[in-house]
Symmetry: D3
Subunit: 236 residues, 6 copies
């Protein structure tokens, strides 16, 4: 029995509310159970120095938490003072979302996805990727609508889910209580068509086996397909 009372392959309730920001070019508030992340997309007609004159676009991400998103209050972070954990997460979000964008089609534009956790209960990086893709897609839709682009650079869905080994069993979509207690923690980023984008597995108490990893991967495939369906409904 999981602490959450969920079945091994059962995800938390998902909701994706779009258009939550008056200023951003694309935005959504994604809720995965008690984890709530506000995702906004900012489009700029210039790329970072290392991409200039390449003809290619760039997608990048920043991740933050409100100080009291967590049980214990945390300090605010600027880009120059982010913890290692924060940087790891936002690098993962950025790499993942770049795999969902055709950078030739995007052209020399940068889209920055800000993922700000309003309330945390485990799985914030996965929610950020899944919600971040929705904000990215809505910004791309807006470029189409305004005539700036003819073809949509964000056709491939990108979504992410966690799995873990809890009391020897693989389980899907860990909440904070489960994550704290899990022997292994893994994150899976996949495309809408099932390709693998990022895999990360980390032993916490003792090493894990190949069989356990394969079980987690199978659970993750199920989770990602549900997330992609929710994304489709949100951007329809």
């Amino acid at each position: 029995m999981r602490p959450s009372g969920r079945a091994r392959d059962e995800m938390r309730a998902i909701s994706i509310e779009t258009g939550v920001s008056r200023h951003a070019e694309g935005s959504c508030l994604i809720r995965c159970g008690d984890t709530h992340v506000l995702c906004t997309a900012t489009v700029e007609d210039r790329v970072p120095p290392f991409m200039r004159n390449s003809g290619l676009g760039w997608v990048t991400a920043e991740y933050g938490m409100l100080p009291r998103a967590t049980n214990t209050r945390m300090r605010r972070e600027a880009k120059t003072s982010q913890s290692g954990r924060t940087q790891e997460i936002q690098r993962l979000i950025g790499r993942s979302l770049r795999m969902g964008a055709d950078r030739v089609v995007l052209g020399e534009r940068q889209i920055t996805i800000d993922c700000d956790v309003l309330q945390a209960d485990g799985g914030t990086r996965c929610a950020s990727i899944t919600g971040g893709w929705v904000a990215l897609r809505l910004a791309a839709d807006k470029l189409i609508a305004s005539g700036a682009l003819k073809e949509n650079p964000v056709e491939e869905h990108i979504a992410a889910i966690s799995a873990g080994v809890h009391q020897g069993q693989a389980v899907l979509d860990l909440d904070y209580a489960e994550d704290s207690d899990a022997g292994t923690d893994a994150n899976f980023v996949m495309t809408g068509s099932g390709g693998l984008v990022e895999l990360q597995g980390s032993a916490e108490g003792s090493p894990f086996t190949e069989a356990q990893f394969m079980e987690m991967l199978t659970l993750a495939r199920k989770g990602v397909s549900e997330l992609v369906a929710a994304q489709k409904a949100a951007v329809a």
Copy 2:
């Protein structure tokens, strides 16, 4: 005629939604028109070093903006890298809210009010003070409910509103468009019983007169009384 179409003494629509954070000891989401601020209160059983062994409590505040709360994306700020504007605002919020707390009754506890602007359209410091007081009061109520305190240290309401001189006329509660165009900008922090807590008036294009300042103060009294009514409804 004001850019917003409002009457000179007309405030924007106010809503205060409480209990929006699962983790914080007190919280609300205050909306003043398109300005939305998430306010959370964190209670700790210790005070900063300069207050130790004084028997007195402390109330402090931090203010932040999500990167895309504004029309143009802004950089994230840590406590050590806050702009002068951010520091000025959070010092004002902290000073104002301390005037609403009986620090002897509170005892050696610190309550930190985080005011995070999710969406900005002018008047974010005033919304932060008004919403911050609600979070502060709810945290005090919780200390009463848990038996930690017998008497409520947060009895006096604190609320804040802006006024300005727009095309020679005093107007109440500037939105961003009006603020950008105003010749004078002023902020008024008052108690529920009408005492003055903080007055700040700043000429932008040309100096202002004593008469104009008095007109703004009169408008502000009206605004604060409406805000205090909204606070009362929210914490009832």
Copy 3:
């Protein structure tokens, strides 16, 4: 009876010594009782990026304290590590002095006023504004003398003074001992012709009333007129 023994509307002795810096384009050492501030003006033929190609000039200020200007030694501050208090003060000085300069007449030049407190005894921000104006005016005079300008952009005097409520009574020009003990602290920046530039009133122990604020404003008008007379004598 005030701690200083002064009458309610009595200022401390003022002296303004000009030409104290061999290198600066304008300079003075202003002494208001035991508060001594060295003010220098630096003229540059370029403006900050946000002002470029506007045809307008810019006036800005920096404020600092020598480590032992105060009773207890304080740490040095760089522009990137200034405390909230320091930033608030220098932003106030900058805004105030900009109201004393005709930026069209100044043209695309920047004048930086550095206000360094050699010895502090309360009222350093007001002394900085009053002395800063003298440095600014002397720098403008030098631009006239060198032929760079034909018309003087610094015609309107700007001066500042504090007032407070001490034991229930409004008093003028608080020194450090009085300020520590005052229930309300206010700063008034005015033009030579009596216009209001900046008003700031802050309750320290308990809220203040409109009547008290008006009394402080009346005292401040008297103080500013004496300061403007001292400025005139200094730059004559």
Copy 4:
């Protein structure tokens, strides 16, 4: 054909030279082809604040590069200014090596492993883990030799190797030229007995398949067994 001319499952030449530092409690210089990393272990009789009075030891790591370890000169990094990439790597090294230490046996001591890249040619994080384990073990041996410990807390080997998909084929132990050109990059950290400690796979050009990931894992098992043999020879 790989750019390096190696067979798909062929590692670069490995050498591990121990005792290279006069001051450190354990040290080695590990060379994996042209990647050279100096690993030192520092033993301290205290643990970080969050571990105090737990009875458990702590193992942590720092990773750095000499400015000209790479083809283009890089800036030096302090712990407070490390890039996201550096932090990610040193967090991975620390987590991995903690899985090789019995922290109950170690007792309240901290061992810091510094991994400084003298020359880089791909695979620096894997070389750091493999060499870092040697330094860690030598420091543990020294604690035994000095009588501070009776039982060796570092019995389980930890080693790491990269694999990738190059021109559609899985290959082992990428050098810099191969890594730059690979479609997928993965790192595998395992124990001497074959348990999985950390898995990281990242698509660079296009998503990868489960089959490709399994091929990389198989190659990695072969690589790790060769590295563990080299570790055994080094610490014998």
Copy 5:
């Protein structure tokens, strides 16, 4: 002929005005020609962590420049952002003044000497050492006067002077114009009884000879004896 018109062994006019700070335990304003440095001494009844329980006192220094002390405006520096030049100078001042204090007699106290350059025209580090000694001595005198100490820990004078090779000739006490043009620049710190405390010689255009160095040393002896005489007059 020197640019300054002075004879080869002629110093600039020296004045040392004591008691210039109301708050500091010892203070002076030293003027060496157009170089003006405000020196203050702060006494604290505790020493830095590395000196605790040693029974010994500590003397340290900080050096700063007002932004417009120089011909071109310079940025303010905090202790954590000082330039290499600033740190070099203040380390030199601290080492030099420690040689003038009997740290056993001083006991576990720290005296911090702040040397703030109000106006610079070359030789600021030497003026800081010479004036810093006066502030240090006055603070020691105050400890005697208050009964905290019975014996004076600051009996040995410390003074410093520059010399240089200008157009092939050794000259004493370089001002800024001479220093910019000198082929070699040297600083000499000596005790009142003629012992050498710090020697620093640095070739700027071409190497210098032993003979030139000896000539500079001879000039410096003359300069230091004049400075020590001025110190004696100041503290009498």
Copy 6:
């Protein structure tokens, strides 16, 4: 008798191994007894802003220590967080090596010498200068070999050695144990033809005499001639 058992004028064993870095334009590992410094030269076809369009080249240096180069582990330093000691050392290395380069011949190029101490046992700044010159010369040789330069800008040797007063006697080339115990510490940088480039003498316990300084200088001349011979052998 010296702690090291060496004669008063006896240096530690010197070795200079060149070509130790695959990436750098010039490199060596210099060993002076147990002090080991890796020196690399990086050539860039641009100079710092203050040298642009001068037609002159620039030579600069950075100095660092691996965390466990010393007996006690030290923190890593970035360029923006270097200690005063580190900055002093690297400024000395840079100034010294610039005296060994004909900057007109070099043309608008910058050569950066990185000196990273792998193991420290006293005299690291002197070893850095001596080894840094070798890296600089090898980089210049490479510019000749590639045809970028016709004439060698690095013809004059620069080498450095320490001396000290140990138990009243001048001794050459202090190791760490001797340095900790020495009453005076001095560093001498000279050219291959015997010119003085930098002299630094610092009293540690008590002042030193002119005679002692001359003795140290004589020892240093002997040391530098041996170092120059080793440089010649290394770059032959």
